[in-house]
Symmetry: D2
Subunit: 329 residues, 4 copies
């Protein structure tokens, strides 16, 4: 359940306020140049505390590669990576020990396991995505060897589509003790036709699972997505001539397999559930309580989620790339 | 790649115009009453040729249970089921041998495998979903033992939300030699809190993959979905009092785990790519061609996809239900 | 649990006296010529009723390929195959309904599932191996494309090593209402160095699991096997010169990866548990009973197990071959 | 390939002379008391440098639990554990950079990956088993909650069966610059009937794979094992009366499922391939060389392998235990 991929397999571990967050990639081919310098720029994009728009929790998040790389090159054995959790002021969380924060996984983890690491959300914290970024950085290195690149960008914040207004939309919510969400688009360029597998291994199905596995994501669409539900067949089909496809309504994926066009995925990111405004909730015993979640929280997770979404796409593509290599005799 | 699920594992096989379509379910617990009478009503809902709205291809689709059931009860061994393909007029498809139909998987399968069963789309045909329905029927039996039910309904056809207009919207497209899509909602009632697993095994991630693996689906959302991207945190959070959750913006899933509320999933279904209107395309040699796809095709796949979406949801829930049984000592 | 392999994935299904026995192979590369004529000679070698040495149950076991092959060539989609169970005189088994046959899985299936298909052992019957032979035949076709061949032979029957005595050893046991076992060796020729994966995916570990998964097998050894436990390091190591390895104590596998030498596996096959001699046992209620297992049973399963062991080796090798193709960038 | 288990999933990572050796267990139920104090006694039994019989490499091997345990109890999230490699005198290995040690995986890793971490065998080193012991310790904790215990012992060293002679047999080989192997037996007590799955998930098949995945193991047998190949059916069957089974030739497993008797597995361990005596080999360029492997090596790995074999058995049993919980409705 903490592993994704069939060939390029990524397992993540670690809690927000445990000793470390990490990832193990099993199935990475030998021969890829890789070092912590490939990971750190991505970690930096994910890192909190960089601006007034995100949580002031300051972390260096220095990645340590524990295995699988010898003299700067992958050896075909598992690549394990960790970052230490240095700045855990877990005393901050004592008051949350017995109370369920609205919009968080506190209630459901308690119901499922009968126990939960309440410090900062434990395993369900956004900090878990650091492991995905480590593994995603390796996937991106593999893809780059094949000329495939993955890029993400913000399309909307709280309904606003003008990037110049994004910062004000976030700060305005923060001033009210509230939070906002948005929409992110990830595109994959340079992907050849033929990646993805039939039926349950469809490239779009894998992308959908990968994206929806990011905590704050509530919707995923490929190409025209929900818009295509209102289109005519004659509008939605991508016709071809000798130069290739004449449009890309399908977002680069037909029948679950890449067609050589740009792959386009969009995700809906909900507003951060941690807000200062008072909300009704209950505690572990079921008694009614009110809660105002202070502390170090992002008023909008969207800017930091872009790199995580890119990494998830990279993991899916790396897996599909390996699968493709064994699809014909 | 043709298997879904970790515990309740469903593998499907079969091509549109091969000898049979089937499914094998491995991991179904012993002790569930099951017979072809549990499958046939679902197969009937999926079956084409029932009305002017769908393809006139007539199939009886009698399910044969080959294994895993003894004296009407599952034994814990694999349950294999097949239907025979009786009505395969494969001569219909000779003209499609060398040409790529727009919006179909013809081009991508050819690129991936260097060979494809061109008869009616082969493995990428919507007929493949019959295997999912067989397996889904068994999943639904398991869920029913636990009081969990799965229901689907059409929300929109070609942008129309009034069910009284659905039929006319479809027939109008058909008259123009065109096709339409729509939006379907699946809801799960009676699901206890605690189903779903952290990180990559999230219930919503599994549902997203399951739904997106249906050929015509282009988008998936949970609860408020894309709407939540424009909401404030204070609007989107589901608060609680002693009676439970006061709203259900999250669609019954928090942190990837069910919270006991109704689970709500919506999918965007694209218009059927097979249309009579002439379209530009190329053939296997890359030369430009025009194509008008006649034959037995649905002008709208939405009505028949509802039961398939229900079955996919049932497969995911059955898997999560088994997983939950081993999550605590 | 009824699936083996990570890349070349084989799922089997079916009970001894159910409707059919079958296999689905998912992950077989496209482009392999395959028809029932590739399977039938292997099925014939496995088939009972050929001589006084084996059970008189007569079955034609005509294999039907249901999917995944188009115009005589694999398409990359799942290859499903079945044989029908025609000769099921299940009335033969009514007396076994409530009693546990010594040496069989009757007792353990009942304890595990609370229900069992008692007709001829149900899923635990040797007839289940027919599914493995179907899948194994496809694996062998793949291997042959790469110049790899798999062969098995009997080394011992009831301690006798002279093949001229094998038949008499079996008939002698049969006359006493008893049964015998033996030792089978499978060798793989033409396998290049580099197949197999580190740690838990070792080629010898996979072969051991594959062989031990055959019901009657009680021991597995690679190369010198148990003999090497008594050897000195200087005797057991395989030294090299410019021409290659100078000996093959390791049976072609070092560190879990093939070294290019012949791969050698030996298995210990227990005597058939079904014997006419009276034995003490209990029934479902726990009461003591005596049992004499008449009916159509082999006094020695060894001759028929050879092809099954070859097929299991072929499945493991096919899987390792695909894995090798993605081990380097 | 570096993961074992379907439910209680253990992934190991790390090279002999890399930064760390570790394991991640995903799927461990919540609610098990666990700390490094549960691991250290097992690590101590595996640890080198304790006596003249084993390598003088001295390591403290302090286990650090990085995740998945909160306030001393497992939370249901992945349990990651590492030990640091402190004593890596990798200069020791420079002379082995280009040469293939006989009996080691040097040659096969080079052929497979085109690159290898030559320091002390890298991933193929026996030091890799430290990760298995960490995970095995957690499996043992789970089993103990259910009253199941796992114990191993040495049956033979270099053909000697008298324990009083074991030490001398090893020292004698060491004095000659040679090495010896032996036979180890692992038994599982307290295991209820019903663990293990049909066909490819048989308990004995999983045990065989688990044991053969230990580098030095060349053979595995269950119960009477190879002896049963020479027995009569009437001798080999385990009859029953009202008190239960009257013998245990089957080693506690029938049809791949535990029958409630003691489970008995034996493994053949080859002599350590690293010996001081001169041996012929080749280097990376294929030129002939002679080699004498000095350094810190065990003249016999058998004493240290016992705890590793116990841990592998524990991992298999823990997995089967979880599987059993979902085998019936």
């Amino acid at each position: 359940m903490n592993t994704t991929g069939r060939f390029f397999r990524c397992t993540t571990f670690g809690e927000s306020h445990g000793r470390a967050i990490g990832a193990v990639v099993d199935g990475c081919p030998a021969g890829i140049e890789f070092s912590d310098e490939d990971v750190m720029p991505l970690m930096e994009r994910r890192r909190p505390g960089k601006s007034p728009l995100s949580t002031p929790r300051s972390e260096t998040d220095q990645v340590e590669i524990l295995s699988g790389v010898f003299e700067g090159v992958t050896t075909g054995t598992p690549v394990a990576m960790i970052i230490r959790n240095e700045n855990f002021r877990s005393g901050d969380y004592d008051e949350l020990k017995d109370i369920f924060r609205p919009g968080h996984a506190d209630y459901t983890y308690q119901k499922k396991y009968g126990i939960r690491d309440y410090r900062g959300g434990g395993r369900s914290s956004g900090r878990e995505t650091a492991g995905r970024v480590m593994a995603g950085a390796l996937a991106m290195k593999l893809l780059r060897c094949e000329g495939i690149t993955v890029d993400g960008r913000i399309l909307e914040i709280h309904g606003e589509t003008d990037p110049a207004i994004f910062e004000e939309a976030i700060l305005s919510a923060k001033r009210s003790g509230d939070s906002v969400g948005g929409i992110v688009e990830v595109s994959v360029k340079g992907c050849p036709a033929g990646l993805g597998d039939p039926v349950f291994g469809k490239l779009d199905a894998s992308l959908a699972a990968a994206m929806m596995s990011i905590g704050a994501v509530r919707g995923v669409e490929i190409g025209d997505g929900f818009l295509s539900a209102g289109a005519l067949g004659s509008e939605n089909n991508d016709c071809m001539d000798e130069s290739g496809f004449l449009s890309n309504h399908c977002g680069g994926i037909l029948g679950g397999i890449s067609n050589g066009s740009e792959i386009v995925v969009r995700i809906a990111v909900k507003p951060t559930p941690s807000i200062e405004m008072e909300q009704k909730t209950v505690d572990v015993s079921g008694s009614e309580r009110t809660i105002s979640v202070g502390g170090r929280h992002d008023p909008c997770i969207v800017p930091r989620i872009v790199v995580v979404a890119e990494c998830m796409a990279a993991l899916v593509l790396a897996d599909a790339f390996l699968s493709q290599k064994i699809s014909r005799i």
